[in-house]
């Protein structure tokens, strides 16, 4: 089934203990759609400036990604620069230039409006709402990401869009901030009252946790010897997760668990190289092999 993603397409300058790159293609919607396209067809909605070239768009070609919804506006593309420490969790933002993204108003092409699965990447909750308003009928699955900025500054707007959200995909710090609860299970119960009935908590190197009424599922982070660049890990996770769900006929607990694993697989590939370098080269056979690695990593018999 079709999958829509609305979010940022950006240029990132990245510095990690393994090197640095200047103005490499990034952004939540980019990582998400590349990761998801291994599982299903993806419709992308975002905005770029006139510094975004045909060469930049190459990443989407030959994949199941429709960029009809990628608006090109006069001006510059969203730019982010950051530096990571030896501990990938230590991140310093060096520059954030919203540029065209500051005035982004998502506008869905007609053919995107019947999408059944929607991922609202981390943008202004008011814009996330406007996306849902453009969807025809009731989507099967709406998943949403957000961040501390919106949790603090637009809590009412965020709560409003959360009422229409099935799956909230956020990190542990955001979970605690949104619920005002340190304990993640209590936090989940709090969030279920706001709207989403499934909470997926991204925990970086520690993996991810899913809490829903069918129980709790935990998947570890994939042990890697070198994390070259943590950028995009969460969005690649979301892409694998939603891509797998969109491709599945039914959304059962077993399917959600597998979606968590494929999300983790895509996140683990994303961080192996800078920017999208690894994801753009990964093969479906490697994805399957890594999923089996996750199986080996976690399975036991009693």
């Amino acid at each position: 089934m079709s999958l829509l993603v609305v979010g940022s397409v950006a240029f990132d300058s990245l510095e990690t203990p393994f090197g640095k790159v200047e103005r490499t293609l990034g952004g939540a919607a980019t990582y998400f759609s590349v990761a998801a396209s291994f599982f299903t067809h993806v419709n992308l909605v975002g905005v770029v400036g006139d510094d975004f070239t045909d060469r930049d768009a190459e990443i989407f070609r030959g994949r199941r990604i429709d960029i009809k919804g990628l608006e090109r506006a006069p001006g510059k593309t969203f730019f982010w620069a950051g530096r990571y420490g030896t501990d990938p969790n230590e991140r310093v933002t060096l520059a954030t230039e919203l540029n065209m993204f500051a005035t982004f108003r998502p506008n869905l092409p007609d053919s995107f409006r019947s999408c059944k699965n929607v991922f609202l990447a981390n943008i202004d909750p008011t814009l996330q709402k406007s996306v849902l308003e453009q969807i025809k009928g009731v989507p099967r699955m709406v998943a949403l990401d957000t961040m501390n900025y919106w949790i603090e500054r637009t809590p009412a707007e965020l709560r409003e869009i959360l009422k229409h959200t099935h799956v909230l995909v956020i990190n542990d710090a955001e979970t605690r901030m949104l619920s005002n609860e340190h304990n993640l299970l209590r936090a989940a119960r709090h969030i279920f009252k706001i709207g989403p009935k499934t909470l997926v908590i991204k925990r970086g190197e520690y993996g991810a946790l899913m809490v829903h009424n069918g129980g709790i599922f935990s998947v570890p982070g994939f042990p890697l010897e070198e994390v070259h660049d943590p950028t995009g890990a969460g969005d690649s996770f979301a892409g694998g997760f939603m891509g797998y769900l969109a491709a599945s006929k039914q959304v059962t607990d077993a399917v959600l668990r597998r979606a968590m694993v494929y999300g983790s697989v895509m996140g683990s590939f994303a961080v192996e190289r800078f920017g999208l370098e690894r994801l753009r080269k990964v093969k479906r056979s490697e994805i399957n092999a890594r999923a089996r690695h996750f199986f080996k990593l976690t399975q036991f018999k009693l």
Copy 2:
């Protein structure tokens, strides 16, 4: 098969967001032996002062724990006081009074010297060595815990005892400090060169990771709504882990994985109440049920 533990028996004064207790029985060897005794017979070696009463010793009665090696010396028992924050990882030590533990010289009763499985809890590496020297023959399995204090102050002595250690059971910060490597897989390779061929990394609420030449196994922390008191979680984990191994005829990868799960089960019970309150009441049927919960928490099909 028999299991020997050498380590601290202590009184702890504990303060957490869930309450406080004064001078409750604790210490690594206490948590370890109570947890391990659900799986095998345990021989305990430690020291207490004359403030340690028959009532304190009650915890060991009716369990498979032989305290013939628990020396009673004139003076006071090791005392520790600490406070935990809402985040259980935020720990403040309020008092450490080594008392009799400062001059502790482990002396194994004759009947303990043929023990085949040995757990050297966190004490001076020189004393850990002296324990091994008192063992007759070659033990099947030597596991060891240590801490930043010994890693920093007695590195040569620690390396010496690690040569004779099969399983190193430490937390992630200690792993990084010992190996001078942030990445845990590289840290493991470094540690394998020193001696231990199996590294078990305790990660608190994030669970535990085992690395050995047979591969990597990850078990999550058990999601609990309330962590009343994190004290003793790591030692209870080690107790469940070593207890299960000691009770197993062979040490295969499958057995080690189950040992990791039973270690996690015991650690998860330990933190549910203050001190040993929960561990002393837990039933074998509850242990089995929680192991099945761990199974449900982690299993998926591809």
